[in-house]
């Protein structure tokens, strides 16, 4: 089992982050998990803090939504933008993408998850460690995530 690690969880959907927390708690109880609910919050955190691993959602609001905050621009490929910003600031923390989408749409492009996975691998191969499809009704994501984390963090 890996020793104490700091994990940044970037996720805006409450049921999903609850499930991810639960999974991390039961499989990596010693880990320090920090949650960010927006793209910019995540960029800010990763710029200011040392992190061993980022678990990243792909579709994200720009800012954390709240009673007075509509969240700004919605990013279909917010995770990709996060990876670009990491590259921009020369941050090399490994990243695992966990997404509820099997297909992604943006201007003039629709991508399936394997295609997006290829694109991220070719563009951010040094830090990007793969994508996991999350579905609240399917248990499999949990196994995949634990396996991927072990592979990335060792142990």
């Amino acid at each position: 089992m890996p020793e104490l690690k700091r994990v940044l969880l970037v996720e805006d959907d409450e049921p999903k982050w609850t499930a991810l927390y639960k999974c991390l708690n039961s499989n990596f109880p010693s880990f320090d998990v920090h949650l960010e609910r927006s793209l910019q919050g995540a960029v800010r955190f990763v710029r200011g803090n040392a992190v061993d691993l980022v678990l990243l959602d792909m579709t994200l609001p720009n800012f954390e939504t709240g009673a007075d905050e509509p969240g700004g621009m919605a990013h279909s490929f917010g995770g990709e933008e996060f990876l670009r910003q990491m590259d921009r600031f020369d941050i090399t923390t490994p990243v695992i993408v966990i997404t509820q989408f099997e297909m992604f749409s943006a201007a003039n492009q629709t991508l399936r998850l394997p295609e997006l996975d290829n694109r991220l691998r070719s563009e951010f191969g040094d830090v990007y460690k793969g994508a996991i499809y999350y579905n609240a009704a399917i248990h499999d994501w949990e196994k995949q995530l634990v396996k991927a984390m072990h592979k990335v963090l060792g142990g």
Binding site: E14, Q40, M73, Q100, I138
Partner: protein
């Protein structure tokens, strides 16, 4: 050898026999021509006219009796491109007399048009048609001539006639199709270049037959350069049509291919050279042969009088007059002379002279939309004329970055081919291997005239010392211009940049200033001097953004990769270049523009642009203003992780605006207006409830931007058509509306045309707008439904209550089977194993059913309606009545914004209906279905347990059921438009504060001491903008004119009658503010308002704002609302006014 010859002979004879004996000789020719060897093609073609059927020549389609008969015959069987070209040449040779005669007419038409003799030009077209039959050539020119000479109605009437003829005479769609686009291209509101690009995209589809694709591209895609295969396809279609179209297609294909050095088209050039010997009056063929044969020494081309050009290069810029001989080639020099020695153009001067001011504008600015549009229309609508070829080159030279001096301009080669004379200005644009021979020819024929010498220097050639003395007669400006270009052509970039910079140390006419800047930019680019290049382009373009398109801005942006941006992070020009490029050229740079914006701040150890306020003097002021004004905007800053939310972004923008007011006072009004808008929007936003709860959203702002780019031009077309009385007949409107409502596609099939242009245009615009609102993948409703609801969120929300009670299990990823519920199997260990196991399985089956229902809601219901999603809840549509209403509101005088308002109105109305229906469906179907699912689960458990106790499980199911119903209530709230809990600014005090904040946000030092005497008032409705504008004017007046700029005392008193407020605002003034002059000024303003002059004087009154106040309060009430103002003694100023009042009401906030 003899056998082969006999065989060929017998082939010729056998083909002739086959044609002669066939019931359809033309068909027999089409099928059998491939059997003819190259040496017999001419013989067969010469023989064909002797074949007649029912007394008529079989090739009568070459002189069609009617437009409807154009290109109706079947295509001949395909043969190799080289052979297709030989067949074409053979046909042209056989018809040479007629073609020579046609070319004489064609050149006459050119001259008549561009000298403004429109009636004669139109009747010449009649003559050409009567002699050579119907043709696309005549049709295309007639549309253009009618538009210029008689206007839109006349050319639309011509279109109508063609469509009638084509419809009556057996549905020939090709002429009607071309006519439609010729007509559309000529409309003033159409941008022909964009239309050409649109059609190029359309024809790139695989659904278009390749022959038709090539044919339509050559005719409608302006910059299409055919390859040899394309040419063969065009000629194959040409063979079935009018001989003059066949011939012109051949020449145009050769001209375009040769000017772009398409090597594979060699047989075409050889064919043209061969043809030049037969059709000697067509100089274009001679020119093609001349270039193809690598500039042989020849004296066949006429010389032109170079006196104007010589004057120009010697600095004698005498503007040409209408009396100068009309020669297409010299037009660009006439236009350049005009741009320096400008004069008035009389309305009766020839058409070519009417174009000088536009050409001049382009030479100076390169970006005038109106002037570009004027010339582009000529270039696209008279594509085959000599004159248009010259204009095309002129346009390209002055508006395209690709026309950099180091390039060989294909348009210059085309202009040369189109002209009748030996043109010196071709020299710099020839391949470098040909330049010495051509220079030699020019010197031999023209002698060392100064214009010729200039072209030699421009081409980068060494001038024979014999002629070096001729340089001394050139104007220094021209010599610099020519030498800079010459150095660029010989790759001496340092020298080119130095000459250009040196030239600008003198005062230059704008036309030469722009050129020298472009030359220097080209040299810097070649040397990859990014910092200097960015500095140069940004310095020039910040004054006029569109100018950046003339410089290698795109190339520069492309080179600003991560490493370059890091190295140049502290250079303010970098973010400016990326912004210019994003806005003017290509918006894919928006992301790195935002990075560059922030990198610049980080390089200064700053995080926010407002922190620049203390170090303003470190930067070039104009660049800093540009940076603050256009880059430090929420749209860019939101990509910075420094900000925590929208409000912080807006506050930062307010701080930036306050700086801008200080350093850019010329735009104060604009900054103040933006400040007021942000302040108002923040108050509205603060009153919106449940931002988080509603998940229904459409990014209307982004769609407005999309509409600006994609619909504005079409809207202007629509308005112009309506103004000309085209379309909008009630019947066609109803038909189009019915089609639209029925979801039928309109005019999407190739060659299918709209029945009524104006109506179809309107309906299509509305459909596109609604489609964008619903289905745009980045800004539309579907994206937000997908991101915020469908993908996981709904499932998470509805599964949570069951997960909390451990009632729901997971699906196995590999088998899709739901696991049995082990938790409850263990908890029910007081039951027998079989019962507990059956319950555990039942819970697994229940989980499957539960998730299936969630999936159905997400996949079938929370979707945009389409034929694939027939049960979708979001069916954004409109009724025929709504569209009719919209059509009647959008008349010829409507603005684009009004159209958008109406279109968005349709969308919101339709969405509102959907949301109301969803609410009903949630209550009537979804909630009962989930309730009964859980109720049935409880019953099933009881049945399985058969009376054995399952209290704990029963309780869990009931708790979960309550939780699910609550979750469904939350889901229902996702489908409500955000609603203001209170009116955005509900109280008078709030309104007063908004107005005051509009001033203090910009002028933070202004901090008046307010004393209020305000009774309890009902809430105001819909008056946010009005009130905030009024109070802004008053407080700004106090700041500016009280003589106490920081903390004046201000008293606000409010009284009330039944439906009016009486407001009095008094402020203290410093000593000396009241004097005779100020009192007189106030009296004058009073007088002006009393006379009713205030509406005219609002913009000219200076800075008091009092007349504006009168405008804001309004004058259409009975009795009129009062406005009074003036000094109270020497220590106070007052403003007293009335406003009408309505009670507040709740209102929905859209978007």
């Amino acid at each position: 050898m003899s056998i082969a010859t006999n065989s060929k002979k017998s082939n010729l004879l056998s083909v002739q026999n086959a044609i002669r004996g066939a019931s359809s000789p033309l068909f027999a020719f089409s099928v059998n021509r491939k059997r003819i060897g190259p040496e017999d093609i001419q013989k067969l073609v010469n023989w064909l006219p002797s074949v007649r059927r029912r007394g008529r020549p079989i090739l009568e389609n070459q002189y069609p009796a009617s437009i409807a008969k154009l290109n109706r015959a079947s295509l001949a069987a395909p043969i190799s491109p080289a052979l297709e070209i030989r067949w074409a040449v053979a046909f042209f040779v056989s018809q040479r007399t007629k073609l020579m005669s046609f070319r004489v007419f064609a050149e006459q038409f050119d001259e008549l048009m561009f000298n403004g003799q429109f009636d004669e030009a139109l009747s010449l077209l009649d003559t050409i048609e009567s002699r050579f039959g119907a043709s696309f050539w005549v049709m295309e020119n007639r549309f253009a001539a009618l538009q210029i000479a008689q206007g839109l109605e006349a050319q639309k009437a011509y279109l109508f006639r063609i469509r009638e003829i084509c419809g009556c005479e057996g549905e020939n769609t090709l002429p009607a199709y071309l006519a439609f686009y010729y007509s559309t291209r000529n409309e003033r509101a159409t941008n022909p270049q964009k239309l050409s690009e649109h059609l190029a995209t359309r024809y790139s589809g695989t659904d278009v037959p390749i022959e038709l694709k090539a044919f339509l591209r050559l005719r409608l895609v302006h910059d299409f350069v055919p390859g040899i295969e394309d040419t063969a396809h065009v000629l194959r279609i040409g063979l079935t049509g009018a001989i003059i179209d066949y011939y012109e297609s051949f020449v145009v294909a050769a001209m375009r291919s040769l000017s772009h050095n398409i090597a594979e088209s060699m047989p075409l050039y050889t064919g043209a050279a061969e043809l030049a010997r037969s059709i000697s009056t067509d100089v274009r063929l001679q020119k093609i042969a001349f270039l193809h044969e690598a500039i042989p020494p020849t004296n066949i081309f006429a010389l032109r009088d170079l006196s104007l050009e010589n004057d120009f290069v010697e600095g004698n810029h005498v503007s040409t007059t209408a009396d100068a001989p009309a020669t297409a080639s010299r037009w660009s020099w006439e236009a350049k002379s005009f741009s320096i020695a400008s004069r008035e153009i009389a309305s009766d001067e020839p058409y070519r002279c009417q174009l000088y001011p536009h050409a001049s504008e382009l030479a100076k600015q390169g970006n005038s939309i109106e002037s570009t549009n004027e010339l582009v229309h000529v270039v696209h609508n008279f594509p085959a004329s000599n004159f248009a070829a010259v204009l095309r080159d002129y346009l390209f030279e002055h508006t395209s970055v690709l026309a950099g001096p180091q390039f060989e301009r294909a348009t210059a080669v085309q202009a040369f081919i189109s002209s009748k004379t030996l043109d010196p200005e071709l020299l710099p644009h020839l391949a470098h291997t040909l330049r010495p021979k051509y220079a030699e020819l020019l010197l031999k024929r023209y002698g060392p005239q100064s214009f010729v010498v200039t072209q030699i220097v421009t081409a980068g050639l060494d001038l024979d010392p014999l002629y070096a003395g001729e340089l001394s007669v050139l104007s220094p400006t021209i010599l610099n211009d020519a030498q800079a270009q010459g150095r660029l052509r010989t790759a001496e970039y340092d020298a080119a940049a130095a000459i250009s910079r040196e030239a600008r140390s003198q005062s230059l006419p704008l036309i030469f200033l722009r050129r020298s800047q472009r030359f220097e930019a080209a040299a810097l680019l070649q040397q990859n001097e990014l910092a200097n290049l960015c500095a140069l382009i940004s310095t020039i373009s910040i004054a006029d953004e569109a100018l950046c398109a003339l410089f290698p801005t795109l190339e520069c942006a492309n080179r600003l990769d991560k490493a370059a941006r890091k190295a140049l992070a502290n250079d303010i020009s970098i973010s400016l270049i990326l912004d210019l490029c994003t806005k003017v050229i290509d918006d894919r740079f928006a992301r790195i523009r935002a990075y560059a914006y922030e990198d610049f701040l980080f390089s200064l150890r700053l995080e926010r642009p407002s922190q620049l306020g203390s170090i303003l003097n470190k930067f070039e002021v104009q660049k800093l203003i540009y940076y603050l004004r256009y880059l430090c905007i929420p749209d860019v800053m939101q990509k910075s992780s420094v900000f925590n939310g929208t409000k912080e972004l807006e506050n930062e923008r307010l701080a930036v605006l306050a700086i801008l007011v200080r350093i850019d006072p010329g735009h104060t009004q604009s900054y103040e207006a933006e400040t007021r808008k942000i302040t108002r929007d923040q108050l509205i936003q603060s009153a919106i409830r449940d931002v988080e709860q509603s998940k229904v959203y459409v990014d209307i702002g982004a769609i407005q931007k999309w509409a600006e780019q994609n619909l504005r031009e079409r809207f202007l077309r629509y308005r112009e058509l309506r103004a000309a009385g085209v379309g909008a007949e009630k019947e066609s409107l109803l038909r189009a509306i019915q089609n639209a409502v029925a979801g039928k596609q309109i005019a999407e099939e190739l060659l299918q045309l709209p029945e009524d242009e104006a109506t179809d245009l309107l309906v299509d615009m509305v459909r596109q707008l609604l489609r964008q609102c619903t289905s745009d993948p980045i800004h539309g409703l579907d994206l937000y439904l997908s991101m915020r609801i469908r993908h996981g969120t709904l499932s998470g929300q509805l599964r949570s209550p069951l997960e909390a009670e451990h009632l729901i299990t997971y699906r196995a990823a590999d088998s899709n089977e739901y696991m049995q519920n082990k938790y409850w199997a263990d908890r029910l260990n007081h039951l027998d194993w079989t019962t507990a196991d059956t319950i555990a399985h039942k819970l697994g089956a229940f989980s499957a059913e539960y998730d299936k229902r969630i999936d159905r809601i997400a996949n079938d219901f929370i979707q945009i309606w389409s034929s694939e999603k027939p049960h979708a809840w979001f069916r954004i549509s409109f009724t025929a009545f709504e569209l009719q209403l919209l059509a009647s509101n959008i008349d010829a005088g409507a603005t684009f914004d009004e159209f958008l308002d109406q279109g968005f109105g349709l969308f919101w109305d339709s969405l509102k209906i959907c949301l109301e229906n969803i609410s009903k469906l949630m209550d009537s179907e979804i909630k009962p279905a989930f309730f009964s699912l859980l109720e049935n689960l409880e019953k099933d458990i009881h049945q399985i347990a058969q009376g054995k106790p399952t209290f704990e499980l029963d309780s869990a199911i009931r708790t979960a059921r309550t939780g699910v119903m609550q979750a469904l209530d939350r889901v229902e709230r996702w489908f409500k438009l955000p609603v203001a809990t209170t009116t955005p600014v509900s109280s008078f005090v709030d309104l007063l504060d908004v107005g005051l904040r509009g001033v203090t946000n910009i002028h933070p030092d202004f901090d008046p001491v307010l004393e209020r005497d305000i009774p309890e008032l009902p809430e105001m409705v819909g008056g946010l903008t009005l009130f905030s504008d009024i109070f802004f004017v008053i407080f700004n007046n106090i700041r500016l004119h009280s003589g106490i700029p920081n903390r004046p005392r201000v008293w606000v008193r409010v009284g009330r009658t039944e439906n009016r407020l009486q407001i009095t605002i008094e402020n203290e003034i410093s000593e000396g503010v009241f004097n005779e002059t100020s009192a007189a000024k106030i009296a004058t303003i009073h007088d002006r308002i009393d006379r009713g002059d205030y509406q005219r004087s609002v913009s000219s009154e200076g800075r008091s704002g009092l007349t504006k106040l009168r405008s804001l309060i309004g004058s259409d009430h009975t009795p009129p609302l009062k406005l009074d103002f003036g000094f109270r003694g020497t220590a106070k100023f007052f403003v007293h006014f009335e406003l009408s009042m309505r009670e507040t009401s709740r209102r929905a906030i859209r978007g």
